[in-house]
């Protein structure tokens, strides 16, 4: 401890440079993590809000919601605390005079379905041809009472409620009931239980009997991983983060090794005087931990400040437990990096200090 910290204080430039390198690495790790979280959140925020555990799709849909078609009546195969039908449309929300156009993810369920979001202004859907919209769409010029079109048909619906911002597939959401969505889509059947939907969402759901009626069960985790592009995005960003841990380890390891080689004579003198490998390694560890802590703390500080001034269009989410885990991983990389010099330190022959 004493030796390590005293040396850092005496060689401020040398050690602040390495702290700086670790700061940059931790900054990139935290920025990538924040962006990965932002993208992930953009894809799945609406799903997370459902707090559901199971999804039921057509067994031939390759586990993809938009590729799945089932009938409302198929709900009879599923039992559970709460089961809600789900239909989606990725389309353009536009006002009747095309004054505003925004790409949205439209989600339809039953009017009292458990996945219907809580209204913050306006009222719940209580009649035909009503929509509720994500609060983020207010900024795009949409407001209560407005008549809007969804997709490319001429059919209109009225905005009756607004709920806290949510996104699905990186687009803001709008919710409606199944019949309204089918009417807006110009589907042939727009009432009754023969309407086409994409699937069902449930809390603690299960099949009632061995005949599944062509439905396939997915856990929520599987469903999210199968969102188009989701795994690829997350895998790419996370792989970059994991590589950065290895790079941090290599940088600390190489730097500490070079310093150790430079200080062989000094370490020889220490060993002659009875200050052994254990104490020298403790000094190296103290230094790399101190540098890593300095780098990580400043990196976190910069990340948090940058998050405040980022444009709204850049999805960025700080997940503290995850950032804590990444900080520990960087710290571990620093510790392992310092330990790579163990053999070199242990092999320094104190006799080199004499003669």
């Amino acid at each position: 401890m004493y030796l390590g910290l005293k040396e850092m204080r005496h060689e401020k430039l040398r050690y602040s440079l390495l702290s700086g390198v670790l700061l940059l690495i931790s900054l990139v790790v935290f920025m990538l993590a924040g962006l990965a979280n932002g993208l992930s959140n953009g894809n799945r925020e609406a799903i997370d809000n459902w707090q559901a555990s199971d999804v039921y799709l057509n067994q031939n849909a390759n586990e993809t919601l938009s590729a799945s078609q089932v009938k409302l009546a198929d709900q009879k195969y599923i039992k559970g605390n709460q089961v809600a039908p789900l239909a989606t449309l990725s389309g353009t929300l536009r006002t009747t005079k095309n004054a505003h156009k925004t790409n949205v993810s439209a989600l339809a369920t039953s009017r009292k379905g458990f996945i219907m979001p809580k209204i913050t202004s306006g009222h719940r859907i209580n009649g035909k041809n009503q929509l509720i919209i994500s609060a983020s769409l207010k900024a795009d010029g949409y407001k209560l009472g407005q008549r809007v079109r969804l997709g490319t048909t001429k059919k209109t619906a009225k905005i009756v409620g607004i709920y806290a911002s949510s996104t699905y597939m990186i687009a803001p959401t709008v919710y409606t009931d199944v019949a309204t969505l089918n009417r807006l889509k110009d589907m042939p059947v727009t009432s009754g239980d023969q309407q086409t939907i994409n699937g069902f969402v449930a809390k603690n759901g299960a099949f009632k009997q061995s005949n599944h009626g062509g439905l396939q069960h997915l856990t929520m985790a599987t469903f999210i991983n199968k969102l188009p592009g989701y795994s690829a995005e997350q895998l790419t960003l996370n792989t970059m983060i994991y590589f950065l841990f290895a790079i941090a380890l290599a940088i600390i390891g190489i730097f500490m090794f070079v310093l150790t080689l430079q200080k062989q004579a000094l370490f020889g003198v220490l060993k002659v005087q009875g200050i052994g490998t254990k104490h020298i390694l403790a000094a190296l560890l103290t230094q790399s931990i101190a540098m890593a802590v300095i780098g990580i703390v400043i990196g976190l500080g910069i990340t948090v400040s940058l998050a405040q001034i980022m444009p709204a269009g850049l999805p960025f989410v700080i997940n503290w437990p995850q950032f804590g885990g990444y900080s520990l991983a960087l710290l571990a990389a620093a510790v392992i990096g310092a330990l790579l010099s163990w053999r070199t330190v242990a092999n320094i022959d104190p006799a080199i200090a004499i003669g």
Binding site: Y2, L3, K6, E11, V272
Partner: protein, 224 residues
């Protein structure tokens, strides 16, 4: 007088067979508390080998090294490290000071390693004895060669070892400074009742020593 450090019938060979080199031949040596002993010899005579064996950094091919009556060769590596820390003080050729610690911190480090509080009064007393009170907060690169060696003497004495081994402590000094350092070593040996062993090739310094050993081609002889 009982010997603090004694080497008995020490032989040290490097290599095997035809290429074997004998660095020390049947060397006998002893030093008692309060004695200032010089070992003098030309370079390549085996002085450094003697010192590394006396310090337990190398084991002899045969013979015994006794430090306070305990044989070093039979100790574990860890025990020898502790021995060196507790019982032997070193003064090395140029400087055995740590570049990033100031004079006082060099001494504090000894206490840190021994896990005890800093002995402030002892430090001040020893620094004053070697005329270093003014330099207490100076870093090694701010000191002259003579001052550095005096700090090394303080550092060696500070841990109150049984024996101090000095390896050419005047190698980088001019004559007046060399004589100053050697006079101080002699004084410390007598005043603190320490056994001090100085290895040197400088004939002019031996008048200050109580006993002189000569070493040539690995053969050690005690001078009258």
């Amino acid at each position: 007088m009982t010997a603090v450090l004694a080497l008995k019938q020490i032989n040290k060979e490097f290599g095997h067979g035809h290429t074997a080199v004998t660095a020390l031949k049947d060397a006998n040596f002893e030093v008692a508390a309060g004695q200032f002993v010089a070992i003098i010899g030309p370079s390549g005579s085996g002085k450094s080998t003697f010192l590394t064996i006396a310090a337990g950094l190398q084991t002899p091919t045969s013979g015994q090294v006794l430090l306070n009556g305990t044989e070093l060769a039979t100790q574990t590596e860890k025990a020898r490290l502790d021995y060196r820390f507790n019982e032997i003080g070193f003064i090395l050729q140029s400087s055995n000071l740590i570049p990033f610690l100031n004079v006082t911190e060099q001494l504090k480090l000894v206490d840190k390693m021994a896990k005890r509080p800093f002995q402030k009064e002892r430090a001040q007393k020893l620094l004053a004895e070697l005329a270093l009170s003014e330099e207490a907060t100076a870093y090694p690169n701010e000191l002259s060669g003579g001052e550095r060696q005096r700090v090394a003497i303080v550092r060696a004495l500070y841990n109150d070892p049984s024996v101090i081994l000095a390896d050419e402590p005047t190698a980088s000094l001019d004559t007046p400074r060399s004589i100053d350092v050697v006079e101080r070593l002699a004084k410390e040996a007598h005043q603190h009742n320490k056994a001090i062993v100085m290895v040197t090739h400088d004939q002019r310094l031996i008048s200050h020593c109580d006993v002189v050993y000569r070493i040539e081609d690995g053969v050690m002889t005690r001078q009258a």
